[in-house]
């Protein structure tokens, strides 16, 4: 970078082509490797790095500066597009849930296990332990008193524990 700043064309070209590879990876991770705008963004950022090279402070490390430029261009890209990367609401749960293969497998096992419980018990358990409702909320939804919910959860956990042990 320093030699490029001084007007060394070969060094500057080397820097830019090295940056283009890093940038392609950087943007690919953020907007998807097949995205149509990927190459546009890379070129945009290279151009910005070239035009704004005067804003780089040679006494500071180069990488944070370059990535700050790339980040700015990425944000600018989202803003200009007016569309953020969106997922239909129905699929959002899936996106959040199946983070890894293992997690998906655990979830399936858990559902299978929960299915063995009586419906009311199951509903309360899911509300409190998985969906994160408070005991009061779960009681209102199921039409049970707070202490009844607590007892139900306690029994449910016991039943689940027993079943897991039996399966082993």
């Amino acid at each position: 970078m320093l030699r490029g700043l001084g007007g060394d064309a070969a060094a500057h070209g080397e820097l830019l082509s090295a940056m283009s590879r890093y940038l392609r990876g950087y943007f690919a991770r953020r907007i998807g490797s097949g995205a149509a705008d990927l190459e546009d963004l890379v070129q945009d950022t290279l151009l910005a790095i070239h035009l704004k090279r005067g804003s780089y402070d040679p006494s500071q490390p180069f990488t944070p500066w370059a990535y700050a430029v790339a980040r700015y261009k990425l944000i600018d890209h989202f803003r200009r597009g007016g569309v953020r990367k969106t997922v239909p609401l129905e699929d959002a749960g899936e996106l959040l849930a199946a983070e890894t293969v293992e997690e998906g497998a655990v979830r399936r096992d858990l559902n299978k296990l929960l299915d063995t419980l009586p419906p009311r018990q199951r509903q309360v358990m899911v509300d409190v332990k998985l969906a994160g409702h408070s005991i009061e909320e779960a009681g209102q939804r199921a039409g049970m008193s707070i202490s009844a919910v607590k007892v139900t959860i306690h029994r449910g956990l016991k039943a689940l524990g027993k079943r897991v042990r039996d399966e082993d």
Partner: protein, 214 residues
């Protein structure tokens, strides 16, 4: 255009990069902004005729200290914000500290004054237009500073805009406060100067994303 072609084209542009850092460049811009603000004030409102006399008053130097402090804090903030990836550091806290100190001084002085005079000490005779005049005097300074910052690459446009507004507002307030305004109380400065400068910063924050894009 292929990326490799672009790289070749860019590499062929061997004009050495501009080597003037934000500090020097923005310093120049501030000097120009100061000259513009003084010229505008002289042409529009006129310099107070008793300037030499006023310079002997403590209040004159209080205004100079307050606006100067804010200008320095804003200057440091903007020079940092002009570079991608640079940290803002303590500049913002410097400005807040200045406002707090001024407010406390104004409050203490106000409490020390006889109750009957407090209202007048606070409002002075010019509170209805003082903030607006500060904004007016700051406007050309703001334009110069924004123009200077555009040469660099601010990535936080709103914050940078606010910083530029703060800087311009502090310069404008200094020029108006020292060369024109004859209010003398700390409470007045703490309230109405701060208000005028804060509105400048807010305007900067609103305009920043539009003016500073690159």
């Amino acid at each position: 255009m292929k990326t490799d072609d672009l790289i070749a084209t860019l590499a062929a542009d061997t004009t050495p990069a501009p080597r003037i850092g934000p500090r020097a460049w923005l310093g120049l811009a501030c000097a120009a902004a100061l000259v513009l603000a003084v010229a505008l004030l002289a042409a529009w409102l006129g310099v107070r005729p008793d300037l030499m006399l006023a310079m002997r008053l403590k209040s004159f130097w209080m205004k100079a200290g307050y606006t100067g402090w804010l200008a320095v804090a804003a200057f440091v903030a903007v020079t940092r914000l002009a570079r991608p990836g640079a940290r803002l550091g303590a500049a913002l806290w410097l400005a807040i500290l200045g406002v707090l100190a001024m407010t406390m001084m104004g409050g203490v002085r106000l409490m020390a004054a006889p109750p009957a005079e407090r209202m007048h000490d606070w409002m002075g005779h010019s509170w209805t237009f003082c903030p607006f005049l500060i904004m007016g005097v700051s406007a050309p300074a703001f334009a110069v500073i924004v123009w200077a910052v555009r040469r660099y690459a601010p990535t936080k446009l709103r914050l940078t805009g606010a910083g530029a507004g703060l800087l311009a507002g502090a310069i404008g307030a200094a020029v108006y406060g020292l060369l024109r305004c004859n209010e003398t109380t700390a409470a007045f400065v703490a309230t109405w100067y701060t208000l005028g400068i804060a509105v400048c910063a807010a305007v900067g924050a609103v305009l920043g994303p539009r003016l500073l894009r690159w």
